[in-house]
Each structure stands twice: as structure tokens, then as C-alpha cells.
Amino acid sequence: MSKRIGMEVAIAAAEAAALCRFDVAAVYPITPQSHVAEHLSDIVADGRIDAEFITVESEHSALSSAIGAAGTGARVVTATSSQGLMYMHEVLPIASAMRLPIVMIIANRAVSGPLNIWNDHTDIMHERDTGWISLFAQNGQEVVDMTIQAFKIGEHRDVMLPVNVNMDGFQLTHMVEPILMPEQEEVDKFLPAYKPYAMVHPDTPVSMGTLAMPEFYAEALKAKDMAMAASRKIIAQVWKDWEKQFGRKYEPIEAHRAEDAEVLMLTMGSMGETAEIAINELRKHGVKAGLLKLKLWRPFPFEELKKLTKNAKVLVVTDRAVSFGGPGGPVCGEVKAALYDEPNRPKIVNYLIGLGGRDLTISDFVDMMKRAAEATKKMPAEAYEYYGVRE
């Protein structure tokens, strides 16, 4: 039986990684980090699991070391945030090209310019096309569950891709809240030992991270994309297994009162919980409001989104990142692409919200929903709006 405990979410994420019996953690402790790094270090230093903690001189080296370790067949975890993730950027597509199922726990935060350490989703949006599976948690429980699920998804022979687990910086990382922490035996049952497809070892010589000439480069990218596509089925299976064993259901898009909703809102991350309260309030006042919480950012759940939005008149897409000079926030761009061919697609209103730690209250979500219904009356509206931002 899982144990109900109170714990800071960042520490709980590290505990979840420990339950997965990682072999190696390679982490750089600052710029900025969360408690994930120091707690992984504590776990290894205290000898709680048989693992190595590699102290490195930068995030670039952290992920490079993670790749080296994963190449030897180790189960590897790393963690970073914001500028640190950007510093890792160069190495991210290499990890996925080498098909190494590293798990990265990301405390999502804004990126500098101006300097800001608070929460938004800018950091991960820059990594969208690096070939990593991206999961988004809305609370501490999901951070723990997804960290464990991430190893099983990434390590599946049909996938073999790295996975990042996204948790909102501060809003989740610094929050002490109740969590059902699975027992070791439960996790052992769920997650078998990692059996790598190939590993660098004198007995099994193999070349990893090789050069691909123009004759092969495109094939390598296509193979990665096919693995990403194949992961949809595996993710669904792993989530089914999880539900069966732990009783908590996971879906690429969690719907809340969406069936008969005329106005839908789509959120990603922890703001989904506050938005849920707003939806319930609107329902009390007779507004047919519903909520879609996106939990799977890559691979993007196109089919699920089409199905869930087909009866809605208006879809409010919230974005916690900016695509400068683009069609709107990065989530909205995907949503519009997903629905373009649908005969009965809803009108879409895009709000850029919660940037750089700007707080989001229940009334903000209520207000956005009300205004969106109005906004669609004067279509074509602006492509997107910075909600509550001064001129």
C-alpha cells in the first residue's frame, strides 16, 4: 500500500526516481535548480540505493554524462530548470537520436531576458523539437506518478526515447502537499529492471552517436519520429497498467465537465487545478463551461483533442510561453494545427498567461472564459492576447 505523506513536491520527485532504482544521477546544482538535485545527491550519499551521483561542471555536462552512463546500459535520471535546460539544449537531440531512455525532471521556469526565476513554460517550449517525450504534471501526485511512468515508457523497446517530466517551478516544486508515495515493492512490480537494447561494453562492442552522411541523416530523423509516434500506444498502455495497479487514471488530455460544454478551456500544468474551480463556478451560474488539461505535450494528442472539442463552440487555449512573431502561444499553434481539418471546429481564443510567475486566480480564469465567449462574436479577433498585461 502506498503511504500518504506530506512532502515538498521537488523532494517527492527525487524520491520517486529513487523508487525506480536509478543507477546514475548526473545533475548540476544551480542556475536555477530545485531541491531535486540535492535530494538525489542525499539519496545516493546515504547509500539508500546502489547508484552513482556524478557531479558535473554544467548542465551541458550533466546531460552529456547522463548519455555516457545510459550508453553503458544504466538507468539514468537528471534534473534541471530554465537557463540550465537551455544550456543542455545542444545535447537533448543527441540523447533522443542515441535512443537512450534518460528521464529528466524539469522544474519549469521562465528564461532570462529580463532575469526571472519564476514559473512559466518557456524553458520546455524551446526543447519541443528535440525528440523527447514530454509529460506535464498538474500536482505533486502526478509528478511522482509520471516520474515512475517515464522510465517505463522510455525504456519500452518500441520507444527507446528520453522522457521529461514537467512540474511548474515554485507552484509545484516548492509546495508541501499530501502525496501517496508508492512502496518499493509496488514500483518494482510496475517497473521491471532496465534491459538496454545495446550498450557500450567490451563484450558487446557497438558504436553510438556516429556521423550520419546526407544519405542517412534523414532516415535517422524519420526513425526517431516513428519511435515518437509508436510511443502513443505504449504511453496509453503504461497509463493503463498504472491505473490497474495504483487506481489513478492518466490520459493525454484529462477532461473536466467537457461533454456538453459550449466553452472549453485548455490548460497545461498546475494552473489546471485552479482553472477547474473556475469552471465549477461558471457551471453554478449556468454557463456550459468545461476544461481540458493537456498532460502529454509530446507526442501531441491530436486525435484526443479532436474528439474532445468537436461539440464545443469556443475553445480558450492558455499558453504560458510566447512565440515571438508567431501565430500565438506554442500550445495554441499545435491546437490550431490539430483542428484545421475538422469540419466542426470551435472558434479559438488564445491567452498568454502566467508569464514569469504572474499569479493566476480563480477570477482570472472566470474572466477569460467570459471574455472569450464575447471575443468570438467579433471574429476575426486578434490571434492572441496577453491577458492582464499592461500596455
Binding site: G6, Q171, V176, I277, L360, I362
Partner: protein, 183 residues
Amino acid sequence: MIEVRWHGRGGQGAVTSVEMLALAAIEEGKFAQGFPSFGPERRGAPVTAFNRVDDHQIKLRSGIYNPDVVVVLDESLISLVNVTEGLKPDGVLIVNTTRSAKELAKLLNYSGKIATVDALGIARQELGVPITNTTMLGALIKVTNVVKLDSVKGPIEHRFGRIAQKNMNALQRAHKEVKLNYK
């Protein structure tokens, strides 16, 4: 749901207080959040930290703007920070002070409920250091009954180890000595 805002200075343990309270509530089977004011902290600078405690799952993840309770760990803050800002009309202000509630009410131009305790004096005697976080937690528990006194014992033992008993002593004294000079 009860919402609490703690005022302290960086290093005085306001964040530890919110953690202890959240853990105690969760241990009782309740739902709770404990979180710092998000952002960088500097030793000595005014800081805030927050709690939510409820019998039901807490989904609200916005900041706390209208707390039911405000706890002030350091009296010198009352001339620097508007500690009663947003405090609900039927809420309560709990201050570490040797002044009377009446005096504070006048000083703060505040007409709501005020509870006072000489947490600094208690902490100096019981802990030998002027750190009032666990002491003020005792006062908060007495005033609000948000958790049972026994429920904080586990979290405090886990957090403070060999100085846990001293912290419990300070906490229990504040629980006994806090003056509920409700208006």
C-alpha cells in the same frame, strides 16, 4: 478552508513553520499546502510564507490574498510591512510581542482580533536563540485549533532531531501563554 500568512525575516524559519503546520495537518488526514513566497530570499529581509488547510483536496494554487490568520514572527516588521493587508474582517492577527493587543491595535490602526505572545522571550529561554518559528506555531494552534498540538510532534522531531524537545517545549509554552485578547 483556512488560509494563513506568515511574516518573518529571512533566516527566522517562516518556511519551516509552514512546512511543520502542513505536515501536521496531513498527518491528521487533512489536506494542506505549505509554501514560501516564491522567489529569491535574503537573510534578514522581510519574507512571507503561506498555508492552506482543509478537510477536502485543495485545488487552489494561486497566492493567498485574504488570509484567515496572519502570524508575525518578528515585531519589527509591523512598521515595515502592512501585516494586516487583506486579512479577513473576522480573521485574527497573531503577533510575537510584549505589547498589549490594545497597544498593537492602535499602532496598526486595526480593529480586528489580535492575539499576542512573548515568543521572543520564550524562544530565548527554551531554545537559547531568538528564533520564534516553532514558538509561534504553538500560538497559532491555540488560537485556531487548525491541528492538534500532538500532531506537530512528529514533524518537529523529524525536522529538529536532538533539539526537537526544546522546540516542543517552546511551542507548548506559547500554546499556554498566548493571550487571546479578542476585541
